[in-house]
Symmetry: D2
């Protein structure tokens, strides 16, 4: 089961800056061989369910190891059985409609 997943991690108890924890997650995704897309409010990754969710678990482990005692995470994820669709497809289908003047 292929999943596209959007991850936003918020470590608590470590001040207001979260960028180094987000950067650490990028390394986790890269090490897991997952394609990822960093955007202003999270990171979108895609792949097999177990690989993707395994990487999310690893992010929590790494952020705790970095010293954050609490993490609050928001995830959006989608699966579909009707057809395959990549992260890039999702953006392109919207951009195509806009280019056609809707």
């Amino acid at each position: 089961m292929i999943v596209i997943l959007d991850l936003c991690v918020v470590p608590l108890g470590v001040g207001v800056s979260v960028s180094k924890y987000v950067a650490a997650c990028q390394v986790v995704f890269k090490d897991a061989g997952l394609s990822s897309h960093l955007h202003p409010y999270g990171t979108t990754i895609e792949g097999e369910w177990d690989s993707v969710l395994g990487a999310v678990k690893r992010c929590h482990e790494v952020i705790h190891e970095m010293g954050a005692p609490r993490i609050s995470t928001t995830i959006k994820l989608g699966t579909r059985t009707d057809r395959q669709q990549t992260m890039a497809d999702k953006v392109r289908s919207v951009e195509d409609l806009l280019a056609e003047g809707m």
Copy 2:
């Protein structure tokens, strides 16, 4: 790693009513032996990371088997290393403050 997870599944391509899919997820949680709390905008479950996330995967499988070709899911989840906290603790700590007049 204990996780408290809030799950909101939205099946697409099967009309506007989602209640039977949400009900099927309650059965998944019960079968997995996970304590769960159904609320107006999702279900909160708690337990070991792998058990909880395994149940979420099973929900997606079950909803697809029920005929939904696409599922859009929103998850909030929290882990902490400083202390143990249950779903009930989270509600109680807020209610205690309100009872004290804040």
Copy 3:
């Protein structure tokens, strides 16, 4: 336009405990005359769009006034034009299905 909205506020830069900020939001909802339901991973409120979203804005203002320099919030919200549905209806429709043995 009636909206059912699920709110989860996470103040940053004020340590790991968020309960007093969540409690302050309950007071905001009560003062706004909005019915609300506190659950383990947020608070669900319902009402007219402008009243509900106005209360969410007020929550951010109050939490900043309490000293939190940064707030990360997750919201799920739903509107529908086909029929009216309350927070209680949403839970009941799932519970009815479960009581019928699905």
Copy 4:
């Protein structure tokens, strides 16, 4: 109060394709003069709270007018009083850390 908001709208009762509704929201943001960033799992916009949340309301109105009887939306939003930060700043601060080898 400046807000950075990530919006993901899911119309129900109109089949599995959501791209034309997402495209309609891009037009709403443009008409409102808001800078926006389309990514694989939503659109991030930034601006004054009332302008941004007003645009979100307008998106719901437009999607209902396009025929969707029900909309399920997920929003992440952030405000901060300690300093100004744009959508671009958020991405850049993570990329800078990665470029430095963390």
